[in-house]
Symmetry: C2
Subunit: 360 residues, 2 copies
């Protein structure tokens, strides 16, 4: 069975919320965030290897990151790197990967995973993914992984679960938008709501069927390429047509509309590392004042709750700084309260207005 199992790693994001640490030419997923010597992408690749053979791991990314993929994942075959000529969100990305994989292996099942999340309990993750593959391979099911919420997070979408259809697997009752704090607390307390982690399992044929039903604009476009996928002409077809795909998320295009959607509830130490605060929470503290500094040589005075993201050999000395982000990337220094990090996207816009692309 294993040889019909595929993995699609989505690796085209720009990670602008982590600017200046995440840059247009080296977004978050390519960064060694935890100073372990492995980028988030490499960690995602390593994590799936016990389940999916490397010949079946497909990376979808923006064309500009081709070099970074080859540098960070030298074991991946060139044919397994799908280079998007334009950014179109997850629906076109997943559609392409599904058509590509289905052309190679009509019996394929696949897990689709972001490249920039953290999972700390890998064994639990592996059990969960194996159970998920078994489930979707025996049924025409679209399966999403739901994460048991550990706090009333307002930054995520939630999935409300319905009846159990297999051990650990439930019918999805509803997908919700990001809730306000009061609602998020109700969600968490109810035990009925799980975080939508954006990790999916299905047969390639199942997602293609669902796309035909719920996003026929997209499939009518991709159907023109049948006979090209998996061949030397695939990239020409993509180059001609991919940019014409409307940008859309797979949640909106399919998951929120389809009937055969299921959720496997799991608790494998997941964090989407979507914000500096999330990274701070996830990171080991380096002193009794709860500062986070990774490998950075650090001396602090009357300073607490800060996260320092600095080239590791640079000495940082701070006095009187509480709950700040201090990010230093050589050509950019950012000092900003964690509580203001939602303004970083605006800052990046301001930087672009003042200085062009130089610091993006």
């Amino acid at each position: 069975m294993a040889s019909h199992r595929y993995c699609v790693i989505m690796c085209g994001g720009v990670g602008s919320r982590f600017w200046p640490y995440s840059r247009e030419d080296r977004p978050k997923q390519f960064i060694d965030f935890f100073g372990t010597g492995r980028s988030l992408l490499q960690m995602s690749y390593d994590r799936i290897l016990p389940i999916v053979p490397k010949e079946n791991i497909v990376v979808v990314t923006n064309a500009r990151y081709a070099g970074l993929i080859r540098e960070q994942l030298p074991d991946i075959d060139e044919r397994n790197i799908l280079l998007e000529p334009a950014r179109r969100n997850t629906a076109p990305c997943i559609a392409w990967a599904a058509y590509h994989i289905a052309a190679i292996d009509p019996e394929a099942s696949m897990i689709v995973t972001p490249s920039d999340h953290l999972i700390t309990a890998e064994n639990v993750f592996h059990d969960c993914v194996r159970r998920g593959f078994d489930f979707v391979e025996s049924d025409d099911a679209l399966l999403t992984l739901g994460i048991k919420p550990v706090r009333p997070e307002t930054g995520y979408g939630y999935i409300q679960i319905g009846r159990e259809v297999a051990p650990g697997i439930q019918k999805v009752k509803t997908f919700t938008e990001k809730p306000n704090l009061d609602l998020a607390k109700v969600f968490v307390d109810s035990g009925e709501f799980f975080w939508n982690a954006g990790i999916f399992l299905w047969k390639a044929s199942s997602i293609i069927d669902a796309l035909h039903r719920y996003d026929s604009d997209l499939t009518s476009l991709f159907d023109q390429g049948l006979g090209e996928f998996g061949t030397d002409r695939e990239m020409d077809f993509i180059g001609e047509n991919f940019a014409a795909c409307p940008a859309n998320s797979i949640d909106y295009a399919v998951m929120e509309k389809a009937e055969n959607v299921y959720v496997e509830c799991a608790d494998f130490g997941w964090n989407d590392l979507g914000t500096w605060s999330a990274l701070y929470d996830q990171s080991p503290k380096c002193d009794e004042d709860e500062n986070v500094g990774g490998e950075t040589p650090l001396i602090t005075y009357e300073s607490s709750g800060n996260i320092f993201a600095v080239n590791s050999d640079k000495l940082v000395v701070v006095h009187g700084l509480h709950d700040y982000i201090v990010a230093d990337t050589g050509d950019v220094l950012l000092v900003c309260p964690k509580s203001e990090e939602q303004r970083i996207k605006q800052m990046v816009n301001d930087v672009k207005l003042s200085f062009g692309d130089k610091y993006l």
Copy 2:
């Protein structure tokens, strides 16, 4: 007359209060503080050139800075660079320079000046120095320049003036220690007290006479070198004997004890740049929030009164920072409230304890 006029630029300080901008291997005086393309030393040299011919400008510095002197002052003759083998404060430094110059020119008069101060009204300074030279050349006088105080500064010593002995030149009544704020206010209001800027004029023979009278330990040591100064053997003598000089300031060794001490009161836009706050006050503000950033590309949000000392091409983006020093030197980042800058010396000690000499 001009050919008997000499200048001694004291250039051996370590400037630890400006760490990390000022470093052991490139102290404050060697830094282009104002982004003008000229270091404070070069500005000091340029400033005296209209009065003292370059053959008569002598730089005294620590041996480790020989390369920096040659790099920054390529016009200076090698024989005019006096390299101290050890740091012994100003009295031994000035004594050596006086013996050296007296050996070359027994009729020499000299101005002794720090290398790391700022003077903005150069014409006023030149008039003041010329009048000072005229005065000391006609009398056996030790002349210090007194700066009209513009604020009740507690970081400086003050000079109380007595009767006028020549236009603009008074007998010194007393030298004072650094006053507390209340006393400093009284000093400023009285009109009788001036800042001690550490700039001196005298004949070489006058200061050598005064040293014989008030610091005979020092002169008995230097007198052993008579016949060596100004010859090829001078550096050997210094190498053997300089380290034996007790560290002492010229104020304590001579100025506070001698009878023939005079002050020329002046107002030539002087700032000793002794602290980050002094540099902040002196620097042009780059926005309506009174931030100082020199040439640094800077974007600030809800931030005011900060001084950014950063390599000039690096982009700095800050949010919610008020009255801080942000100094970035490539291998060190310091973030510290201006109000805490007196702790920087302690920080440097802590850095040394934790990381050795690497970041000093």
